[in-house]
Symmetry: C2
Subunit: 337 residues, 2 copies
C-alpha cells in the first residue's frame, strides 16, 4: 500500500487542490425553492432556448462551465482535463457540452454521484501531478430524465409518495493545484452496495445503504468522527433515504446532528409538490456549487464532507426484475489545507 | 505545468505500472475469426447461460475479471480500484458486474474507447501513488447493442456497407505498481473531435479524425515518431475508418507501415459478413487482452501504441439530427520501463 492511501477506500491528498471556481445554472422550479439565492443563473425557460430537453441539458453544462471559468479567471485552454457525465443515455449531455472545448476529456458514469465522482478523479489527477487545472461537471433535467427513465411528461403519470423530483440544473467546479481554498483534502471512493430494493420509484431506500457504507469507510479510514465536520451532506437521498441513513447509524449508536441532504435542501417539501425531494446529477451539483461552497467562503462552515449518491439502474434492468446497485463517493472539503 | 505532463495531452508516467494480468472472453463469431487462438474463453452460447443479453454482458465482464485476477495471482480484495464502463444505457453491464466485488469503483463512459480510458485512469491512479493494483474492464455484446442502438435482431434490418459488427466480448487488464511488465509508459488523453458525420452506420468515418487528432498529439507531446513503435493499433475504426486515418496522415506526408485496427483484425472480412469490421467496447478490449498483450509477452512487439476510439452518440442525438462527437485515448505500452 502506498503512503497516500488511508485504509482501503480513502486517499489523503498530499497537496490538496483548491477550488478555483464554481458555478451552477438551474431551472424555474429550483429558482422558486429555498436555495434560490445561491444559484448563479435561474432560467425561467427550462428549454434554455434549445429545441429539445437533451440539448437544453448540454446548454446548461456549457453555461456552468463558462461561468465557473469566468469566476476562476481562467480560459478553457488552461484546463488540463474536463471530467463530466450525466444521466442521459450515452451521456450525451456531457459529450455534446465538451465538444468544441478543445480540452482532454474523461467521460464518467456515476448516476447521481457524478459530481462527487468527477470531483474525486479531478482532485486525484491534480494531486498526482498530472494537471494544474481540471473541471468537474454534471447535469440533469427533469424533462429529459422523466421521458428517458419513466414516461413522457405528456402522459401525466402519477408519482408515488416515495418518488423524488429530478433537478433541472448543472454544476461545475474548477480545481487548481494552487490557491486560497477551499481545499479537497480527502477522497473516499465508494463500493457498489445493493440491498435488494427493486422499486425504481424509491431511490432513497436503494441509495441510503451505499451512503452508510462510504461514510462508515471514511470515518474508519481517517480515524475522524462526525463531529470533525461542520456539515456532512449526502447527494440526493431525499427525506425517506435520509431517514433510513440516520436509522442505520442509530443502530450503531451514532447520532448525527450535522447531516443534511441536497435532495431535501433544494426544494420546499410543503409547497413544491416534490414528494421525497430532489434527485438527479444536477441536484448535488447545484447545491455544492451554490449553497455549500458559497457558505464555506462566507465562513459558515470550515469542514464539509460531501457524499454524492447514485443509483446505477436502467429502465431495462428494472424491467428485467433486477434490484438497484447503488454507490456513494465522499469528498472532504476544508477551508484549511 | 507539472513535470510529468508532456505538452497538453500526454503524461509520461514516472513509475510505469506493470500489466499483472489480462484476460478476455468472447462469443461464437469472434471464436471463428482469425484471432481465435488469442482468446481465453470462447463461448458457443452467446447468452452465457443468462436469460437476457444484458445479463450476458455482465456475466462476460465477471468472467474476464476473475480470469485476469487468476492470471495475476490476485484476489479481488487486492484491488484498490475497478474502473469500468460499457455501451449499455446507464452502463449496467459494468454496474452489475462490479456489484458484489467489494472494491472501490469508478464508472466510466467512453463508448468504444473505454478500454483505453479505463487503462489510462488506472495507470494514472497507480502512478499517482493512490493504488497498488487496479482493474480496467469493459465489454460489448452484439445482441444488446443491436436492440439498443438500432433495431431488435428479430426485425432483420439490413446493414449498409459502412456498418460494423459489434463484438461480443469483454476484456480486463489488471495493473500493478511493481512487476516485470509490459509497462504503461505514456497516457495521451483525447479531446472530443466532431467533423460533422451524421450517419450512425458510419462510425469509422466519425472516429477517424479523433484518432488522427490524438495520435498527432501523442507524437507532438512526446517528440516520438511512428517508427518508435513496433505497432500502432487503433480501437475499432474498421476498414473504412482505417483508410480515412491513413489518408489524413498521408496529407501530412506521413506514411504508416505499422498501423493496424482492432476492428479489422478481429474478423475475416471475406468470410464473416461483417462489412467494415468489428466495433464495440469489447472489440479493442478483446484484441488488447489477447492478440496484443500475448504478442508482447511472446516478444513479437516491444513498443505498442494502443489508441481506443469511441463515438459519443446516442440514438436520441441521431434522431435529433446531431452529428457524432468522437474521442480517442492513446496508451503507450512497452516491455521496457
Amino acid at each position: 500500500m502506498t503512503t497516500k492511501k488511508l485504509g482501503r477506500q480513502t486517499v489523503a491528498l498530499a497537496h490538496p487542490p483548491s477550488v478555483a471556481g464554481h458555478a451552477n445554472v438551474v431551472g424555474k422550479k429550483e429558482g422558486e425553492g429555498p436555495l434560490a439565492d445561491s444559484f448563479d443563473q435561474i432560467n425561467q425557460d427550462d428549454s434554455f432556448g434549445e429545441k429539445t430537453w437533451e440539448k437544453a441539458e448540454t446548454a446548461m453544462q456549457k453555461l456552468a462551465l463558462s461561468s465557473a471559468l469566468d469566476k476562476a479567471g481562467l480560459s478553457a485552454s488552461a484546463l488540463d482535463y474536463i471530467l463530466a457525465g450525466d444521466l442521459l443515455n450515452q451521456c450525451i449531455g456531457s459529450g455534446f457540452a465538451v465538444r468544441g472545448q478543445d480540452v482532454p476529456f474523461f467521460g464518467l458514469y456515476g448516476a447521481c454521484s457524478t459530481m462527487a465522482e468527477s470531483l474525486s478523479l479531478a482532485a486525484l489527477l491534480l494531486d498526482g501531478g498530472f494537471a494544474t487545472h481540471a473541471a468537474a461537471i454534471t447535469s440533469s433535467h427533469f424533462c429529459s430524465a422523466e421521458r428517458q427513465y419513466r414516461t413522457p411528461l405528456e402522459y401525466g403519470g402519477q408519482r408515488p409518495p416515495t418518488a423524488q423530483w429530478t433537478v433541472t440544473g448543472a454544476g461545475c467546479v474548477i480545481l487548481s493545484r494552487e490557491g486560497p481554498g477551499p481545499y479537497i483534502t480527502h477522497v473516499t471512493t465508494g463500493k457498489i452496495v445493493d440491498k435488494g430494493i427493486q422499486d425504481a420509484n424509491n431511490m432513497g431506500a436503494a441509495m441510503a445503504p451505499a451512503a452508510y457504507d462510504t461514510i462508515q469507510a471514511h470515518f474508519r479510514d481517517t480515524g475522524r468522527r462526525p463531529s470533525d465536520y461542520d456539515l456532512i451532506v449526502t447527494g440526493d437521498l431525499g427525506s425517506l433515504g435520509k431517514e433510513i441513513l440516520l436509522d442505520l447509524f442509530h443502530r450503531d449508536g451514532i447520532e448525527f446532528k450535522n447531516l443534511e441532504d441536497c435532495g431535501v435542501l433544494i426544494y420546499d417539501a410543503q409547497t413544491q409538490d416534490v414528494h421525497c425531494g430532489g434527485s438527479g446529477c444536477g441536484c448535488s451539483a447545484a447545491v455544492l456549487t451554490g449553497f455549500l461552497l458559497n457558505g464555506m467562503k462566507q465562513g459558515r462552515w470550515r469542514h464539509l464532507l460531501f457524499c454524492g449518491t447514485g443509483a446505477l439502474l436502467s429502465p431495462t434492468s428494472t424491467l428485467q426484475g433486477e434490484s438497484i446497485p447503488s454507490i456513494c463517493h465522499a469528498v472532504a472539503i476544508s477551508t484549511e489545507q
